[in-house]
């Protein structure tokens, strides 16, 4: 019964969001966020939790901070919020230096992972709390709470205490508490990670629709790369406190700047292997792939990455780069994943690269494969990413590997 109601509620939001979209685009009140060389060192810690991060969030942009746990993304978000003091650097919100402004005067609203609803207040008072603290008159407060509640499909629940709400409902109350303040920016700290998978996917859509309607600058922290890719106008990938790359989802996928971004973004994970380039031919154990566009890099050791979707099981003898025996087949319905032991390269300097042991190939579900079957794999040369084996940095330079014509001898330098 509850599930049914919830689904109905969500349709409610979707419709309202759709309806209001045109009105919102005109609203230009949103402000950008500028982060300048921001550092954070916790008391007694030897290394920086956030290491001189520079990041610009445009007005109205949806920026996602993503990275494994402990990468500093939440710390960075909390510094933007003012809940954490910065060790160095500056933070500007809507053109104002707020580095040393207390959290309550930054005009931002935050949605927390555990929702942080006030347990002693009902839904109406939870949503209206910020207005009450700021001494907004009762009638006005009531009007705005109703408005926000109807946007989020919470009208029926205003009298309930948080303990009597489902996870999805609590999440929406937390959103409502942020929205009602009409802040310069929303900060969201893994707001969906406490929901089950189905609801998470639904709420993801709701959040994106809400963003399109309200147009408020948003910084969203997640460790889930699917959430990051689908929600963000741009995605900032962090690791060990250092910003790795800030880009659109497409560019992060197609042009990762280093092996970390390459393996963090993309599902299933990219196959990273150690190999050697010689006269435009890439070799790794028994794997051989002509890579004419990489001739400019000369002869050298590399780490190369191939996305599972950039390989297929060859039908003709001529384009086979690698042969192996299928170890495991995962059927996803619309596609099938084949796992094949990777090319054991004798000169493997990067043993740390876990995915090298087994290649993952994503093929269409049409043809049926079985474990134990011998297959020849063809690799789309345009989709091969090359990295320096020591630094992990991308070797393709600024040129797009998909357009080999763009690589000129000048770029060797």
């Amino acid at each position: 019964m509850r599930v049914h109601t919830e689904a109905a509620d969500q349709r409610g939001i979707a419709m309202t969001a759709e309806h209001g979209r045109s009105a919102a685009a005109a609203d230009g009140s949103a402000g950008g966020i500028a982060i300048r060389s921001v550092c954070k060192r916790y008391d007694g810690a030897s290394r920086l939790a956030v290491d001189s991060v520079d990041l610009d969030v445009s007005p109205g942009e949806f920026m996602v901070l993503v990275g494994p746990s402990g990468c500093g993304k939440t710390t960075l978000l909390r510094m933007i919020a003012g809940l954490e003091a910065v060790t160095g650097g500056e933070i500007h919100i809507a053109g104002r230096d707020v580095t040393h402004v207390p959290e309550k005067d930054r005009d931002i609203a935050m949605v927390f992972q555990n929702y942080a609803l006030y347990p002693h207040l009902n839904v109406e008072d939870n949503i209206g709390f910020g207005l009450r603290v700021r001494r907004v008159a009762k009638a006005e407060r009531r009007r705005r709470v109703r408005e926000v509640a109807s946007t989020l499909g919470l009208d029926e629940l205003l009298a309930r205490k948080p303990a009597a709400l489902s996870g999805g409902q609590r999440q929406r109350v937390a959103m409502g508490r942020a929205i009602i303040r009409e802040p310069v920016a929303f900060l969201m700290d893994e707001p969906l990670s406490n929901l089950d998978a189905q609801l998470r996917a639904d709420m993801r859509v709701q959040i994106r629709l809400l963003h399109e309607r309200l147009g408020v600058t948003t910084v969203y922290v997640t460790h889930d790369q699917v959430e990051a890719m689908t929600l963000g106008d741009r995605v900032a990938v962090m690791r060990d406190g250092v910003l790795q790359q800030v880009d659109t989802a497409e560019r992060l996928y197609a042009r990762p700047r280093n092996t970390f971004v390459a393996s963090f973004i993309g599902q299933p994970r990219i196959n990273l292997m150690a190999g050697r380039l010689e006269r435009g031919v890439l070799r790794a154990g028994s794997l051989t792939l002509p890579l004419p566009q990489a001739r400019a890099l000369g002869d050298r050791d590399v780490v190369f990455g191939v996305r599972p979707a950039n390989m297929h099981v060859a039908t003709g003898e001529e384009d086979i780069s690698y042969r192996g025996t299928i170890e495991l087949v995962e059927r996803l319905g619309d596609a099938t994943l084949l796992f094949v032991p990777g090319p054991a390269s004798s000169a493997d300097p990067v043993e740390a690269i876990e995915s090298a042991a087994r290649l993952c190939v994503k093929v269409e579900a049409g043809r049926r494969f079985e474990a134990g079957e011998q297959v020849g794999l063809a690799i789309d040369a345009g989709g091969v990413l090359l990295f320096d084996p020591d630094s992990g940095q991308e070797l393709n330079g600024e040129a797009d590997v998909r357009e080999p014509a763009l690589i000129t001898p000048a770029e060797q330098a």
Binding site: E103, K104, F112, Q113, N114, Y118, H120, V133
Partner: protein
């Protein structure tokens, strides 16, 4: 199985009766005729009963004054404890600072010291402040006993409140005091109620400080006045027991009303 249960019930009953017997004897004695109080063999029940002891102490100005003092002292201790305990516990439990755990340890030790040990130094301090022989002085002295207890009750409650709630309140525009009053206090209200009940009862029943710090009978609490009746009334056990019964009534009432919170306050930290 069922006979074992019966034995257990019987044992529990015997223990309860053993504990309650003095209380019964107090009430019974207060209702006996003067001649029956020390009868041999003892009269188990106050038959015939009389309220003459009650009416005599009720019209005794010393008793009235002592009871008024006790009411002022216990309410004062309760209010002062609540005013100090909430922010103090919040600071100890939440604000990250050096030595907060050793502060709690010290409080615990202070709480375990017999109050007679503290009475002499407190007397010296309060005399320097010209607060001996005042109700204010006694309220301060009693609060040194209730405050550690309050901190021990409230600390686990405050620490169990997620830090994000405070972050949320700050972003919603609260300052430090706003977070405490609008979020913390309402959430730990059950703990505050049990703290209030405890400190009231402690102030009501306190004897040692009342005796040592205030030697002027006009500012002594009922517990001390009770003791002074032993000399004053000689063998008038009936009056003594009547006063004792009157003193017991608020204790029973407070406990009956706040039982739920007192028990939950005591167990809150451990069960979580």
């Amino acid at each position: 199985m069922s006979s074992r249960r019966r034995w257990k019930t019987l044992l529990a009953l015997v223990i309860t009766l053993a504990y309650l017997f003095p209380v019964y004897w107090m009430v019974a004695t207060s209702l006996k005729l003067p001649g029956d109080v020390q009868a041999v063999p003892p009269k188990w029940a106050p038959v015939p009963a009389t309220t003459s002891s009650f009416s005599s102490v009720w019209h005794n100005p010393v008793v009235g004054e002592a009871l008024r003092n006790s009411v002022v002292i216990s309410l004062g201790v309760m209010v002062l404890t609540l005013l100090l305990a909430a922010p103090a516990t919040y600071a100890i439990g939440r604000v990250r600072m050096r030595g907060s755990s050793s502060a709690v340890m010290l409080l615990l030790i202070a709480q375990l010291l017999p109050s007679i040990v503290l009475a002499a130094p407190l007397f010296v301090i309060l005399r320097k402040l010209h607060l001996t022989n005042t109700l204010t002085g006694l309220i301060l002295a009693d609060t040194t006993l209730t405050l550690p207890f309050a901190v021990i009750i409230l600390r686990p409650l405050i620490m169990s409140v997620p830090a994000e709630l405070e972050d949320a309140a700050r972003l919603d525009g609260c300052g430090g005091l706003g977070v405490l009053m609008r979020v913390m206090v309402p959430i730990v209200r059950p703990g505050l109620i049990s703290t209030a009940a405890f400190s009231f009862l402690l102030g009501w029943g306190e004897f040692v400080f009342g005796l040592t710090i205030n030697n002027d009978p006009s500012v002594q609490p009922a517990t001390v006045a009770l003791q002074s009746f032993i000399g004053q009334f000689g063998t008038a056990w009936g009056s003594l027991m009547a006063v004792a019964t009157i003193i017991s009534i608020p204790v029973a009432l407070v406990f009956a009303i706040f039982q739920r919170w007192i028990v939950s306050g005591l167990t809150a930290g451990s069960v979580r």
